[in-house]
């Protein structure tokens, strides 16, 4: 199978590989996929408690080159975005950017799932964020 140059680039030089402390209250962790399906992605975000902006994203992926590239790209895209904006990223954006062939679309779906799952995990730790309360209003909601 021929890979697009962008897939090859992310595979060869994956961005933001690593691990954040999953017990930190500012960190959300998404672990999606399954070993028997041949792909598992773990995507982690560290969110600014004031601004709800994703300041850092890290990933590790077990999977094919397209799965690695999809998750690597996802971390690049969500860094610097607010959690609400990060949720707007769809798998089709990833398919387009990486020119994924039809058999690899599930890799992009998994990356989208990983973003959502990481954000949900963070939101669980921050119930005040559920309503999309703007930054700075936290003091009043917890009062």
């Amino acid at each position: 199978m021929a890979y697009s140059n962008k897939v090859l680039d992310h595979y060869t030089n994956p961005r933001n590989v690593g691990t954040l402390d999953k017990n930190s209250t500012d960190v959300g962790t998404g672990l999606v996929g399954a070993p028997e399906c041949g792909d598992v992605m773990r995507l982690q975000i560290r969110v600014n408690p004031e601004t709800h902006v994703i300041e850092e994203a890290k990933f590790k992926t077990f999977g094919c080159g397209s799965a690695i590239a999809s998750s690597s790209l996802a971390t690049e895209w969500i860094q610097g975005k607010s959690v609400d904006d990060a949720l707007k990223i769809s798998n089709t954006d990833i398919v387009k950017e990486l020119s994924l062939p039809p058999v690899k679309i599930h890799c992009s779906v998994l990356a989208e799932d990983a973003i959502r799952s990481a954000i949900n995990d963070w939101k669980k730790k921050h119930p005040e964020a559920h309503t999309g309360t703007p930054a700075g209003a936290e003091a009043t909601t917890t009062a």
Partner: protein, 419 residues
Amino acid sequence: MSGNGTNGHTPNGIKLPIYMDNHATTPLDPRVLEAMTPYFTNMFGNAASRNHQFGWEAEAAVETAREQIAKLIGATAKEIIFTSGATESDNLAIKGVAEMYREKGNHIITPVTEHKAVLDTCKRLEKYGYKVTYLPVKPDGLVDLDQLKAAFTDKTILVSVMAANNEIGVLQPLQEIGKLCRERGVLFHSDAVQALGKVPLDVNKMNIDLASLTAHKLYGPKGCGALYVRRKNPRVQISAIIDGGGHERGMRSGTLNVPGIVGFGKACEIARLDMPQESARIGALRDRLKDKLTSALDQVFINGNMDHRLPGNLNISFLYVEGESLLMGINDVAVSSGSACTSATLEPSYVLKSLGLGDDVAHSSIRFGIGRFNTEAEVDYVADRLINVVSKLRELSPLYEMVKEGIDLSKIQWQTEGH
């Protein structure tokens, strides 16, 4: 982490890309090509032309090849029927016996690890009322003889067991299986494609009644196969599946592929003469590769029995790394993976699954097929590349990290829906 060059030379003189997928096919031996060449040009006759020089030359060449092939498996020339390849040979053997012996019985036994040419042929016969027992294999890939014994019924007409497996290279106990079949008056077919010319085969010692053979797995040309059909003790009869001019004693009509057959014969002759030293050399290369990989990397798993195995085969799983991403990282080395992502069906290898391994082990597997033209320098290069890529991909693997932290992956509730 991936080398970009796919056509070039490394500093130590190795020519890239390296071909190490000799179970898929093998390069043509130059000596074989040399033998074939005249039969494409001057000696182009039809071996069935009985009344002129052109036909006689072609027929003589075909008969020489028949002898060369027969000699490699301890058969006689008249027992070799030429076909288009092993898939046709498997079809002809199984369908041919099924039809011919229909009144005697309708039951066939074959292991689950057979090639699809055997399994899918059996599946088709089931549609026509035949009963097939798909025999499980032991965790090392070998047929359990007690289970085979228990599978025979008074309706059993055929047992089909491959000599060597195309994925894990394990050698089935043909002699024991042949004996069990002979004692019961059941015909024994063996797909001997991977074993031919690599390990000794003797149709009489092993009580093999039919054997599928092909040229391109032993440095011969593609598109040329044969079926060994026993002529005495017992005389095996099969129905043809291709009708026509009655070539090959009515068992396989169609003008013979004379250059291919000449090449097939030459390839068998070379293999017969070179086998002892060649299998020792290739076996040593395989062990060198295995030792390098297993000493440098943890969490590797050899698939299939190591003691009863083709000398050139190594099937190894690098746990917590996915096969296709591994192949991507060694893109100047041609090997295969049991990973779903690399298969046309998007299913992981059914052979590896039948060993009782989880899908995750199959997804992480690489099959090496070392052959006649591989060198020690190539093995060293491949081992180094692989160790490097596996290590890098493990740094990327959440599973490897979790295992290193002592987490039991089987206890995790994985999210599998939709994938």
